[in-house]
């Protein structure tokens, strides 16, 4: 067993510096690496490029980094829940690369899988396709999309063991699984770090080989973005 445990969030993010490209898991506020995001705020790293499906909300998630102007560029599919983001983008303070969600997920997965490029029909004929190579397969046009390159991938799982094996809960799996192993160093924060051998090998969603560092987060707020209930 290769032990991937680090003591705390600060050790987990050791080596992150200004101008790096970071991948961050989560969909909306669901499954975001809360402890690592707080630490990035503390570290005051600047000029970072974030690959993340969303940009958090004004006072939580990646919104915290936006507020402090730590982000130079966002690569996302949907950023609609964050007013400060929209302001910075429209005023040109923030570079933004909006790409289709499936393409985003697959470009992460391609990085994980050592596939430098692949073809997808998403975005052909739109401004997403501008300047990109396209090609006909089976009578349909496809864009060539390339694997992301990131310095760190920062993800969050429900349970993890010392070997870095991860299990996610419900829809908190989302981009966290696609981003495991998609950067030089993948950091996983978990709600519960369990001893090696306590996870069923058939239930593991991400094998430890994709993870370089793992730690248990201090606390999880797990904020709900849109609490929606039905009448009883």
């Amino acid at each position: 067993m290769i032990d991937k445990r680090v003591r705390n969030v600060s050790n987990a993010l050791e080596g992150i510096s200004d101008s790096m490209t970071l991948m961050l898991g989560g969909f909306g506020l669901c499954g975001i690496p809360e402890n690592c995001i707080s630490e990035l705020v503390n570290m005051k790293v600047k000029n970072i490029t974030c690959i993340s499906n969303n940009a958090g909300i004004d006072d939580f998630g990646l919104g915290l980094l936006l507020k402090d102007k730590q982000i130079k560029k966002m690569i996302s599919s949907y950023v609609g829940e964050n007013n400060e983001f929209e302001r910075q983008m429209l005023e040109g303070e923030l570079e933004v690369d909006l790409i289709p969600q499936g393409t985003l997920a697959e470009r992460c997965r391609a990085a994980q899988a050592g596939i430098p490029a692949f073809y997808t029909p998403a975005g052909f004929g739109t401004e997403v396709g501008e300047g990109k190579e396209f090609r006909d397969f089976n009578g349909k046009m496809h864009l060539m999309e390339t694997a992301f390159k990131a310095d760190f991938s920062i993800i969050k799982a429900w349970k993890g063991d010392s070997a870095g094996n991860l299990i996610f809960k419900a829809t908190a799996r989302n981009f966290n699984a696609c981003m495991a192993g998609s950067a030089k160093i993948t950091v996983a924060e978990v709600e519960e770090l369990v001893p090696v051998g306590s996870l069923n090998p058939d239930h593991i969603h991400i094998p430890g080989i994709f993870i370089q560092r793992i730690f248990q987060g201090n606390k999880y707020e797990k904020r709900i973005e849109k609490r929606t209930v039905q009448a009883k």
């Binding site: 950023v79 983008m89 289709p100 981009f175």
Partner: protein
């Protein structure tokens, strides 16, 4: 008289067939789930990683780890499964999802759709919409026939940045149900109490009206 959002949702619900895996966009499409015949075998896919999506939870049962693509707390039905985002879009890109229902700002007579961006104004992003429209075999657009200024949203050519080209097959609006064919928007049904003239006046793109146009049956 024209349809309200619930009316549009009810009309679209009639297009859902047994055996369909359905992806619902936010807004009117989300409402469609409420009006599908309960006897049909249908499953809802949410592109953030859930198949077999159920209704909203009762108060106190919300789970921050269980949301839909609109970030709303939801529940699962028996037979549900969770998966990651790349698997989710394998379902979409691989054409395993049978029916996609989504909103639009504009649709053109050749089936182009614009629903993700108003330059310099609204830049929320396309989310999964571009993947959905590029791959889905069967897409229904749910929208108002005209915008707040009373201008038609069924156009010769979209003026806003496109989400996808030549992909839309059916449109349900507050005024009509239409199919996109070779030459433009083919009027299939009128909303209850809406005249053909009203639809003609509200449609900028080429509208094809052949024979008697029946009125929708909305229950």
């Amino acid at each position: 008289m024209s349809l309200d959002k619930i009316g549009i949702a009810k009309r679209i619900a009639q297009e859902v067939k047994s055996g369909h895996y359905v992806n619902l966009g936010i807004g009117i499409p989300t409402l469609v789930a409420n009006y599908i015949n309960k006897k049909l075998e249908v499953e809802f896919q949410s592109e953030n990683g859930l198949l077999g999506m159920g209704p909203f939870p009762v108060s106190g049962q919300e789970d921050a780890d269980l949301i839909n693509a609109g970030k709303q707390t939801i529940t699962t039905l028996p037979g549900a499964s969770f998966f990651d985002s790349s698997t989710s879009f394998s379902m979409i890109r691989g054409q395993h999802v049978d029916l996609t229902i989504l909103g639009a700002m504009e649709v053109s007579e050749n089936g182009d759709i614009a629903n993700w961006k108003i330059p310099g104004k609204m830049v929320k992003g396309m989310g999964g919409a571009m993947d959905l429209v590029a791959s889905a075999q069967n897409i229904i657009v749910a929208m108002m026939h005209t915008n707040r200024q009373g201008e038609s949203k069924l156009l010769k050519k979209c003026s806003l940045p496109l989400t996808g080209i030549g992909c839309i097959k059916k449109i349900a609006t507050n005024l009509a149900f239409l199919e996109i064919v070779q030459d433009g928007f083919k009027l299939i049904e009128r909303a209850p109490g809406v005249s053909v003239k009203q639809i003609v006046d509200s449609t900028q793109g080429n509208l094809i009206v052949e024979g008697e146009i029946p009125e929708m049956k909305i229950f």
